[in-house]
């Protein structure tokens, strides 16, 4: 579904991602995503046409400096964009559904449970005045009402259909308002948008009424079923209690244990209705042990300030894991940590990824971390993907000048050459530059870089880059010497390893 929005300027973003290699299963695919933020000064175009696939069981790293749109992309996937954000175009497909179009009620079933997220600063993402145990078990207990779950599952299909139709109407309305408010839209555009909105309204209103009726009917039906379900449990409980009392009357031995038996039966009954604190704690302790927190029993009752930075990040990971997600989005989880602790957390994420067969989306600006974690790498600059490929592709045969610049600007342990700093600062996204956004800071820039945006050039089956240097008409350009020597060195080292 392509939305044309002339008021926003060009929207025809390139979006090649290449074919899915054999044996890989796509769990999440982002296509042609463009997001802008409405500010007093105008629209900040944070993401301008991003497309990638996330495969099952892999780690995809998104690299870029601050303001390159990497966090905004991940927030779109989670559906937690700020209020002034506007999705100009594109889709995020997960389990056959477009996450940018579904209703909030449906997102509740995905966010946190199927897609988990870990944030950058472990101190500010924990509640300072709640015990760790409470924070880990909170989700399980809130979602732990088993009777309500039965009811929710019964009415789920109808509810979501109703809410999604409502949402579609809302999107159409917002879009119309958005164009109406935009000072640069022409009267024709406004008229067109209004016509579109009216058409949508005419189409959707009867549908919504239908959905509403269906939902109401289903609700009545579901309530009866739930009553039956609860009645069964209650009857079973009552029968058991009666049985206990009857036995106690006859047998003095049983009379002695009556209280204990009564309590245990009562507990069993409650745990059939909801997740008890005890069960939640048992599960929480298991997960705490899994993420490597020593003495979980003791730690369960402590406050966040009693933990070190690394331990706090483990707690955050534990909270994300309680729901057993398919996809884990890590937004710079180690930036606030020390090297040694960082290495531990990276190992932990890698271990959990394999053990739970999760897909991990890892956002960072540290290329060393990327080399450690990534199966595939996406390099972003000024809201666009400039290069992507497997870790081997991007690190050993980088093709985009920005990737070269990134690689040459970090000091290397083995050499003391003068660093090649990237001159200037990232562009102001209120006025995104025409053509190749990196051209202004690149010494490889050609005339065309300032006029026309390069398309994604395919380098190998898995490797793509968006730079005019790969065009057949472009002059020969080689990467900076500092990068090529480093690559040579590391490949030689690896070769020696193979030889042994």
């Amino acid at each position: 579904m392509e939305k044309k929005n002339a008021a926003m300027g060009t929207i025809d973003y390139p979006h090649t991602v290449g074919p899915v290699p054999e044996g890989k299963e796509v769990v999440l695919s982002v296509r042609n995503l463009a997001i802008s933020f409405a500010t007093d000064d105008g629209f900040v175009k944070a993401v301008r046409g991003v497309a990638f696939d996330l495969y099952k069981g892999e780690t995809l790293c998104i690299v870029g400096e601050s303001g390159s749109g990497k966090s905004v992309t991940s927030k779109t996937i989670m559906g937690i964009l700020a209020g002034n954000a506007h999705i100009d175009s594109g889709s995020v497909t997960y389990e056959g559904e477009d996450l940018t179009k579904i209703a909030e009620d449906e997102f509740h079933r995905i966010r946190g449970t199927k897609i988990g997220m870990i944030f950058q600063d472990p101190l500010s993402s924990l509640n300072p005045i709640a015990k760790i145990g409470k924070q880990i078990t909170e989700v399980m207990i809130t979602n732990g009402n088993k009777v309500k779950k039965v009811y929710d599952n019964l009415i789920n299909a109808e509810l979501i259909k109703y809410k999604n139709d409502l949402r579609l109407l809302q999107i159409a309305k917002e879009e119309y308002k958005f164009i109406k408010k935009n000072k640069s839209s022409t009267p024709e555009q406004i008229a067109e948008a209004e016509a579109h909105y009216e058409a949508e309204k005419a189409r959707l209103t009867p549908l919504i009424a239908e959905d509403k009726a269906a939902l109401a009917a289903k609700k009545v039906e579901a309530k009866a079923k739930v009553k039956e379900f609860v009645g069964e449990i209650k009857a079973r409980h009552k029968a058991k209690l009666n049985d206990l009392f009857a036995k106690a009357k006859e047998d003095p031995e049983a009379k002695k244990n009556l209280l204990a038996n009564y309590i245990s039966e009562r507990r069993r009954y409650v745990s059939e209705l909801k997740v008890t604190h005890k069960e939640a704690k048992r599960r929480a302790l298991k997960i705490m042990a899994e993420v490597g927190i020593p003495h979980p029993e003791q730690r369960f009752n402590q406050y966040p300030f009693e933990f070190s930075g690394g331990m706090r990040q483990r707690i955050v990971i534990a909270i994300a894991l309680t729901a057993d997600p398919d996809i884990l989005i890590c937004d710079e989880p180690t930036t606030a940590l020390d090297v040694t602790i960082q290495a531990q957390i990276l190992e932990l994420i890698n271990r959990l990824k394999v053990a739970r067969n999760m897909s991990v989306m890892f956002i960072t600006h540290d290329l060393g971390v990327v080399a450690n974690m990534a199966d595939r790498v996406v390099v972003m600059y000024a809201g666009k993907i400039v290069e992507y490929g497997t870790a081997m592709d991007v690190f050993y045969t980088p093709a985009h000048p920005y990737t070269w610049a990134l690689l040459s600007s970090i000091p290397d342990v083995d050499s003391k050459e003068k660093l090649e700093a990237i001159p200037g600062t990232p562009p102001n996204m209120l006025f995104p530059p025409e053509g190749d956004a990196f051209a202004l800071r690149s010494k490889y820039a050609m005339g065309i870089d300032f006029k026309e945006e390069p398309k994604m050039y395919q380098i190998s089956d898995t490797h793509y880059a968006s730079t005019w240097l790969l065009d057949e008409r472009a002059p020969e350009a080689t990467m900076p010497k500092i990068v090529s020597t480093r690559i040579e060195n590391s490949l030689r080292k690896a070769g020696m390893k193979d030889g042994e």
Binding site: V339, T340, A343, H365, N372, Y396, P411, K418, S490
Partner: protein, 363 residues
């Protein structure tokens, strides 16, 4: 010297610009004492770049701040150009108390004399000398007052030194802004108008306007973006060469320290555990903590990253200090390690083995 501040000419003769002796910085009192820096000693030669690395909370920043006298130090002395610029008194006071309890009058008198000297040195500090030590702080956002213009921020140090001539001050500000790669017109702007890299440049300008000889950089690039880091590193390198600065570079990123520094000190829980020239430290890391730290550096190289074996440092299982206490010893020329007798032997042997192996590999 006009006054009677402790002066050690031998330090100047051997070219030492800064000498830190048994520096102790404790926080808290009574039974809640945190030994942030515990008995740290090192000497910095003129013109050299000295790196301090360690994990957060190991006391590297506290060391830097103690040197510049942001804290009243607990014990030890700091000599700058042979003159004592800071001396710890609390430790001596505690000792006097202990000696009084033991009724050791002779020692009490001796300690009192020492205390008097230290207090005298602290009170008669040479301001001109101490302004030659300047510091660059970690967070360029927090370290600049949002309500002062760039010019005010930069010339505040001059005001403190009693230089109020507006014309010459603004000329100096313009000069220094140009030196750090900013335009003199920026002087009238406020910090919020600048990006992170530019703010850090303002922080550097503020330190440089005092014409320092010794610059303490406390993680100057860790709060910056990747593409900006190299710019700031190159700038620091340039001013270092141009002004002939001596630098103390505090960081937790070993690859940056290795790139920038001549000698590196590794700190762990308030103590120095290893000190060597940067090449030597990377060639022969001896202390297990140094090794753990080195094995944790992420490199932009997928093959070596995926095969990396991270070493874990556990102080209680790595050392057996039940019999003999460790001390800071020189196991090779210029290479110091915190160790005891058996460990010293083992380290020396290991070092020889590594050299032999490397020699074979080269042949």
């Amino acid at each position: 010297m006009a006054n009677n501040v402790t002066y050690r000419p031998e330090l100047v003769e051997e070219g030492t610009i800064l000498s830190v002796e048994n520096l102790k910085q404790y926080f808290g009192s009574g039974s809640f004492v945190t030994k942030a820096v515990d008995n740290v000693s090192f000497k910095i030669k003129e013109g050299e770049c000295f790196g301090i690395v360690g994990e957060s909370g190991c006391g590297k920043t506290t060391t830097g701040r103690s040197i510049i006298n942001l804290y009243q130090i607990t014990g030890g002395s700091i000599f700058y150009k042979g003159t004592r610029v800071s001396a710890g008194t609390r430790e001596i006071e505690e000792e006097i108390k202990a000696a009084k309890k033991a009724k050791d009058t002779e020692k009490v008198a001796q300690l009192r004399e020492e205390l008097r000297a230290r207090k005298y040195d602290n009170a008669h500090k040479d301001q001109d000398l101490t302004t030659e030590i300047q510091m660059i702080f970690q967070d360029p956002v927090d370290s600049l007052d949002p309500r002062m213009t760039v010019a005010d921020i930069i010339q505040e140090g001059l005001h403190i030194q009693g230089m109020y001539d507006k014309a010459s001050n603004s000329a100096k500000v313009a000069d220094i802004l140009e030196k750090v790669g900013l335009i003199p017109e920026y002087a009238s702007r406020y910090p919020h108008e600048f990006s992170g890299g530019q703010r850090q440049r303002i922080g550097i300008a503020r330190a440089l306007i005092m014409n320092p000889k010794l610059l303490i950089c406390d993680e100057p690039i860790s709060a910056l973006d990747v593409s900006i880091r190299a710019q700031v590193l190159n700038l620091l390198n340039e001013v270092k060469e141009e002004m002939g600065l001596t630098m103390i570079f505090i960081a937790h990123d070993l690859s940056v320290v290795k790139y920038f520094c001549d000698r590196i000190a590794v700190m762990y829980f308030g103590r120095l555990v290893e000190l060597a020239s940067s090449d030597e430290l990377f060639a022969h890391p001896m202390h297990p903590y140094t090794r753990a730290l080195l094995s944790a550096i992420p490199k932009p190289d997928p093959i070596s990253e995926k095969n990396r074996v991270r070493k874990v440092y556990n102080p209680s299982s790595a050392h057996d200090y039940s019999e003999s206490k460790p001390s800071f010893r020189e196991i090779a020329p210029g290479h110091f390690v915190l160790c005891n007798d058996p460990e010293e032997e083992a380290y020396k042997k290991e070092m020889a083995e590594i050299d032999a192996k490397r020699g074979e590999a080269n042949e």
